[in-house]
Amino acid sequence: MDMNRKNDITVDVKIVPDDNSEQSVNIEKGTTYEDLLKKLDINEESVIVLKDGNATPLDGVVESGKIQVLKITSGG
């Protein structure tokens, strides 16, 4: 398993507005945002993912940097 470690990257994920704490997540290189959300047990329909502050398509490959998962709650 240690062999695979060098194929992993670590990203900082912040889920807002839920918990404003940041968590480090280890993922395999080539993981998409969609996969990352699955790993975090978050439904992709209920969030917008911001990469370094910009909205990003969920089928894109995750690269290192700051990731914000914005939960969209129904106001009204």
Partner: protein, 314 residues
């Protein structure tokens, strides 16, 4: 690993319509869209909904129900973008202060900011003034329904009343595709066919300002994204009573389904659209059987309207 359906650029995935980097992947359409083309896509669909379903004539007054959340904020912004320059169309925003501690004051602040920026007339009405009680006070009493029932019925009543006072010919509501799909499914699950028909009445019902829902074809997350890319002032906080509603369960179920089977929400709405005219023949909206409520005089099906019932009149 999944193959990517869009072309890669040095930065990310390219827009299906131009060379710019995309900000969203619409699974249901298969398109990647950049900021410009995403905004165009949303606005085109909203204009289409208005043209197809709501025939706005000259000299109309459109009231917009504005809570300050993302949906109504986007609704007001886009209606102003479409009709704001028309000298024959009047716009008025209506905000209802239900009296929800630690929540509504923030959203009212956001809504004021928006109407000030856009220069739109803004009326704020409260449960406290109208009903003599805030929602918090109402729900602290012994109650037989969930908070959302009280809030929904009483807010709708006050919105209608205010819209009428302002001479509105339409009342625009910020329901998005998710809201519509949830309501359709919810009514199916409850077997409530007459309510299903009332969700999209084929004809005008006497005594009520016509409701229009321009955002009904836009998925919730796209409404939120539209608000973000246009930097609209809005509040993302959740109503403290939201956990009480069964709607949340339906929402999770639909979201689960949509991510596995993209297009589900759209299909639910378009199937419903085909069903309504057929159902309405068997279950006509009750316009012929309406009476005046003996307490407030509003039109209703019994002798006492739902709002007065909830307020404790007998």
């Amino acid at each position: 690993m999944k193959s990517l359906s869009g072309r890669m650029t040095s930065m990310g995935i390219q827009c299906t319509k131009c060379d710019n980097e995309s900000i969203i992947y619409q699974k249901y359409s298969g398109m990647h869209l950049c900021k410009k083309h995403f905004v165009e896509d949303v606005e085109r669909k909203i204009k289409l909904t208005i043209r197809k379903h709501y025939n706005i004539n000259r000299n109309e007054t459109i009231a917009i129900a504005l809570s300050g959340g993302k949906d109504s904020t986007v609704l007001l912004y886009i209606i102003n973008k479409i009709f704001g320059d028309r000298p024959d169309i009047n716009l008025v925003a209506i905000t209802i202060d239900e009296g929800i501690f630690d929540y509504r004051l923030d959203t009212i602040q956001k809504s004021k900011e928006l109407t000030d920026n856009l220069g739109i007339k803004h009326v704020i009405r409260s449960f406290a003034d109208e009903y003599g009680m805030t929602l918090d006070e109402l729900t602290q009493k012994q109650r037989s329904y969930g908070a959302c029932s009280y809030c929904g019925v009483l807010r709708k009543k006050l919105l209608n009343k205010t819209a009428k006072e302002k001479g509105a010919t339409r009342l625009a509501i910020g329901h998005n595709l998710d809201d519509e799909a949830q309501t359709i499914l919810l009514n199916h699950l409850k077997g409530d066919v007459s309510r299903l028909v009332r969700l999209d009445p084929p004809k005008k019902i006497e005594g009520l300002t016509l409701r229009i829902k321009p955002l009904r074809s836009i998925p919730e997350k796209e409404v939120a994204l539209y608000a973000i890319v246009n930097e609209l002032p809005m509040d993302f906080s959740e109503c403290p009573y939201a956990h009480e509603a069964i709607r949340g369960e339906v929402r999770d179920m639909l979201n689960e389904f949509e991510s596995k089977h993209p297009g589900t929400k759209h299909s639910l709405l378009s199937g419903f659209q085909k069903l309504v005219p057929i159902l309405a023949k068997e279950y006509p909206p009750e316009e012929n059987k309406l009476n005046e409520c003996r307490v407030c005089g509003d039109l209703c099906t019994g002798s006492l309207c739902q709002a007065c019932k909830l307020l404790g009149y007998e």
